[in-house]
């Protein structure tokens, strides 16, 4: 028998008996960041492809919600901080090695860009909107003229944001569950899938909807592939990673992960979308919502389970 115990009664708040330094704030932040990244990616991508006419929801309408998502995300991040009065210290340095740092900076760039992008389309969507000041109108036309540059900035930073939501976790070697290069792509793809699902739900255009529905199907396929790949990687790796995988293979996270994140959030909407393409009538919000639920639960589960996975010594 092997018995390893801490005999000095360690009970550090949020650390013992098991790490839970991150509560709901970080996974929510990651979800919203991923979702916003997805929407902004599609918006700038299709804009650059010159699809402004065919993809009105993706390019004009959906980005409207991203400033809100990003601001809520930032508030969640702020709430997570234990030393809130000092949060501004985040913006006194740029630390390239710290995902937290470049995440914060990325948001610092993406959020205003998303606001500008949305503002530049505001009068197209709400024709009665009045900017009140002349200089605002001048600013608007300036940005409309330079939309192309804006789109390039946006596509670049939305990809960074998307990857960042995954990298933030996989940078932590100390948590075997997060310590996999697959987490970055997985979160990027799942963010794109959430973005696509949101656009799909918002779109009134049948063609646009079908287009995003099909895209989601592909993204879900990739996600499932990545999940399987991730577990194969774990199981072929060191003892600690095998134990990390065990959290989902019989361990405490088995049920929520496979039923909510994978089945409800990937397989079921995948089937529904497949049926839709085959011509069955499925209301778009059903697969869309399922994807969002799956998405958010994936992040919650990975953040929580990751904190439960640790090196044993």
């Amino acid at each position: 028998m092997m018995e390893e115990i801490i005999t000095s009664g360690r009970m550090n708040y949020k650390i013992d008996p098991q790490l839970h330094i991150w509560g709901w704030e970080i996974p929510l932040y990651l979800f919203l960041g991923g979702l916003a990244a997805g929407i902004l990616y599609f918006a700038s991508y299709y804009y650059l492809r010159g699809k402004e006419k065919d993809m009105p929801t993706a390019i004009k309408l959906a980005p409207m919600i991203t400033p809100i998502l990003l601001v809520i995300g930032l508030v969640a991040l702020l709430l997570d901080l234990n030393h809130k009065p000092y949060f501004w210290k985040l913006y006194t340095t740029i630390k390239l090695e710290s995902p937290m740092s470049w995440g914060a900076w990325t948001l610092m760039v993406v959020t205003p860009v998303s606001i500008i992008w949305s503002a530049s389309y505001l009068r197209e969507i709400f024709p009665n909107w009045d900017w009140k000041f002349k200089w605002l109108y001048a600013l608007e036309s300036y940005f409309i003229r330079n939309r192309k540059s804006l789109a390039w900035i946006m596509i670049f930073f939305s990809v960074i944001l998307g990857i960042y939501t995954g990298i933030l976790l996989s940078a932590f070697n100390a948590r075997p569950l997060w310590n996999t290069s697959i987490l970055g792509p997985l979160f990027l793809v799942s963010g794109l899938s959430a973005g696509a699902a949101t656009i799909m739900m918002m779109s009134k255009d049948k063609l646009e909807r079908n287009m995003f529905s099909r895209m989601d199907l592909v993204l879900i396929g990739i996600e499932i592939f990545l999940v399987i790949h991730m577990f194969m990687g774990f199981l072929a790796s060191s003892q600690v990673q095998i134990e990390a995988a065990q959290l989902f293979l019989g361990g405490p996270y088995t049920l929520p992960f496979w039923t909510i994140a994978v089945f409800t959030g990937m397989i079921l909407p995948g089937i529904l979308e497949f049926l839709e393409i085959r011509g069955r009538h499925i209301p778009a919000y059903i697969p869309g919502l399922l994807i969002l639920i799956g998405n958010i639960s994936l992040r919650f589960i990975i953040v929580y389970a990751g904190q439960a996975s640790r090196y044993l010594y």
Partner: protein, 746 residues
């Protein structure tokens, strides 16, 4: 059921006035955040103390500021007891001061509306009640009918008070519940007791044999330090313990003995040393008496014989005997300290003493050195009156070989009996929580019920205070003066304890209480000093020091009077025994009608489904006294029950599962204890740390945490030689559901 004259009063039923005083700016006890995160620095002064958390009495420095905040306590580098390093309990001693559950003001038992309650009182009121009652008992029954139970420094002052009234019945649980059998056995063998700190020369030993002594868990500081030093120097450690103790894990040889069979092992070792002629012949010839009798006596106690009893392989017994012989005379068969185990303890310790004699370790480097101490003369006072009776008169002829007053015997003689001249009527209890200290709780409680008066002096609302008529709150050792420490060591030395901070709440030091009481009892003459500083300064002046110097030094060492730390080669030594020799054959024991040489007797074994209740120390706690200390409960806040995996399987127990215990007499534990499944304990025993399972709710951190071993020790194996209470003959079984609720329902 008879109604109790003395209901247990939880101190919580007292008024709230005391609590109002308790509003320290910095509340460690609550785990509150410290306001400023600055590193304490120059504004902290250091004052001398010696630790009161256990009786090793390490000297240290207390760092405190003018606001009454104690930052830390560090060991005094000049102190031979600690060499500048306190143990965890001493380091965490600051928790005693900061504990907001402390006793805060004197309390007097009153009956109100038919209910007994404690009422807060002024010191004058409380001390008046004490003085009155003590005088009343003296007048009606004689002053000898008052006994003092004490364990701790303040006891010396109360002892003086008692002697001034004409009683010498001063008893400490550190005799009959602790080291008594050892002292009697070594006195019988060498004409000298071991006392404290033990003069084992561990740092220079080549072989240390620990029989039960669980150094490392038993944190007697100097010994732990020296053991570590010995390990560094490559000494062999042999540990005899049925449990895989920390010391066992540091040992070259661990002998996992069957519990209660140590005497067989010791006799077998003696047998091997003699038959193989591995003993120190010259030493034995020169210094000992009764070798031939011993040789005859142990002839049949072969390792093969012992194997059947102890389950230890004969080769192992021979090999370890050889290790000891090879190291001789730098070998110590450690005399242990808490040795009241199975009732034949004096005889077991006699075997230990004999073994050391055969190995020639007494008086030898790496064995037992000869200690010296610097005594301080008493402040001049009239001679104490001669007592007309002592505790022995209760039953003449019994326990003649007990060197100190037998605490449990005082209990017995408090319960009235017609065939006894002297029944105790009054107890002064200072610094000992008799409820968790004495075995056979019912007997203790019955004695208490029969008292006319009991005053308890304590710092915490421990269980014993609930039975008192008057509770006197003492300030902690960090807030007071006491007599200087004058314990024995390699070098004679004295240490000063002085207050680092003002007493918190309405608490007072013992010396102050005694001085006041003396004056109320017209015993002023015996306490002619103005205050404790005058007393200490006078004493220190007699040895060429002063209070002022001691405040500076903390510890002062004196040169030895004789250069006799060890025997010289071929030195003639006159031992303080009847024969002037080390008595392998004890003439004292023979005269009292006991076996002059130890004989193995078989002890009872656990019935099926029961396990032997084994107990010991946690390095982070002292008995029951630290169970509420905020710093130390942070480390260990409850005791757990060590259970062998096989046993856990039989009972389907899980790690951390709370269970209740019931002993062979049907006594159930009040609280549950969590299971720790571990290979470190045998299948026939369970193990827990002594001192937990507190039942007084006023102890906010300790209440209901773990189980009290004491409440399950109802079977006492009395040592016929000196009255010690063997406590390891109790067996428990597991209750998976709360048995106490069941009882209420049926």
């Amino acid at each position: 059921m008879r109604s109790n004259r003395r209901d247990f009063i939880k101190i919580s039923s007292m008024g709230i006035g005391g609590a109002a005083v308790a509003a320290p700016a910095f509340n460690w006890a609550e785990g509150a955040i410290k306001a400023d995160n600055k590193k304490p620095g120059a504004e902290y002064k250091r004052t001398s103390t010696y630790c009161e958390i256990c009786f090793w009495k390490c000297a240290g420095w207390v760092y405190s500021n003018d606001e009454g905040h104690i930052w830390k306590i560090e060991g005094n580098a000049d102190d031979p007891h600690c060499n500048g390093r306190l143990c965890p309990r001493g380091t965490g001693g600051v928790g005693m001061y900061n504990d907001t559950d402390r006793l805060k003001t004197p309390l007097i038992r009153k009956t109100k509306n038919g209910k007994q309650v404690f009422e807060e009182a002024t010191w004058d009121e409380a001390l008046d009640v004490v003085a009155e009652n003590l005088k009343k008992i003296a007048n009606e029954h004689g002053p000898e009918c008052v006994a003092l139970f004490t364990h701790g420094s303040g006891g010396k002052f109360f002892g003086d008070l008692l002697k001034a009234t004409g009683s010498t019945n001063i008893t400490a649980p550190s005799f009959a519940q602790c080291r008594g059998p050892r002292e009697t056995a070594f006195l019988a063998t060498y004409g000298e007791i071991i006392a404290s700190p033990e003069f084992t020369d561990i740092r220079d030993t080549k072989c240390l044999v620990l029989i039960g002594s669980h150094l490392g868990e038993n944190m007697h500081n100097g010994q732990v330090q020296e053991m570590s030093e010995a390990i560094d120097k490559g000494a062999t450690i042999i540990t005899v313990d049925p449990r895989y103790s920390t010391a066992a894990s540091k040992s070259k040889h661990w002998l996992p003995i069957k519990p209660a069979t140590d005497l067989a092992l010791l006799l077998a070792w003696i047998n091997v040393l003699i038959t193989e002629e591995w003993y120190d012949k010259d030493y034995v010839e020169r210094y000992t008496y009764g070798f031939d009798q011993l040789k005859n006596h142990v002839q049949s106690f072969t390792p093969e014989w012992a194997y059947g009893i102890t389950t230890l392989a004969p080769e192992m017994i021979r090999e370890t005997a050889k290790e000891m012989a090879n190291a001789s005379p730098a070998v110590i068969v450690h005399p242990g300290r808490h040795v009241t185990w199975y009732g034949d303890d004096t005889q077991r310790l006699r075997a230990v003493a004999i073994l050391n004699a055969l190995l020639g370790s007494w008086g030898r480097k790496g064995g037992f050195y000869s200690p010296e101490k610097k005594s301080l003369p008493s402040y001049p006072h009239p001679e104490f009156p001669k007592p007309k009776r002592t505790w022995r008169d209760a039953h003449p002829g019994k326990y003649n070989l007990a060197l100190e007053v037998v605490s449990n015997d005082i209990c017995d003689s408090t319960i009235p009996s017609p065939d006894r001249a002297c029944n105790f009527k009054g107890w002064i209890v200072n610094g000992t929580n008799l409820i968790s200290t004495l075995p056979d709780l019912n007997n203790t409680l019955e004695a208490i019920q029969n008292l006319e008066f009991m005053v308890v002096i304590d710092t915490m609302p421990m269980e014993i205070t609930g039975y008192a008529d008057v509770v006197l709150p003492e300030c902690t050792y960090l807030e007071r003066y006491d007599y200087c420490r004058t314990d024995q060591h390699r070098e004679p030395n004295i240490a000063l304890r002085m207050p680092a901070v003002e007493p918190k709440y309405n608490t007072k030091p013992s010396w102050w209480m005694v001085k006041k009481l003396a004056s109320k009892m017209e015993l002023d003459d015996f306490f002619p000093w103005k205050d404790v500083e005058e007393l200490l300064d006078w004493q220190l002046n007699q040895v060429g020091s002063s209070l002022e110097e001691m405040k500076r030094l903390g510890v002062k060492k004196f040169p030895r009077e004789y250069d006799d730390l060890y025997f010289f080669k071929n030195q003639e030594v006159e031992f303080n025994t009847n024969t002037g020799k080390i008595e392998l054959y004890s003439t004292d024991l023979a005269a009292e009608g006991f076996d002059p040489m130890p004989v193995y007797t078989k002890h009872k074994e656990p019935p099926p489904g029961f396990y032997r209740l084994n107990y010991g120390r946690s390095p982070a706690h002292t008995f029951s006294r630290t169970a509420n200390n905020p710093n130390l409960t942070d480390l260990v806040d409850e005791n757990v029950l060590w259970v062998n995996p096989q046993v856990a399987k039989d009972w389907s127990l899980k790690n951390g599962q709370p269970i209740w215990l019931e002993n062979q007499d049907g006594v159930k534990s009040k609280f549950p204890i969590k299971v720790r499944i571990t290979e470190r304990i045998r299948f026939d025993s369970v193990y827990m740390v002594h001192g937990f399972g507190h039942s007084n709710k006023k102890l906010s951190r300790a209440y209901g945490k773990g189980v009290s071993d004491s409440e399950l020790i109802t079977k006492v194996l009395l040592d016929p030689v000196m009255g010690g209470t063997g406590m390891r003959g109790n067996f428990v079984t597991f209750k998976l559901e709360n048995p106490n609720e069941e009882e209420v329902m049926s």
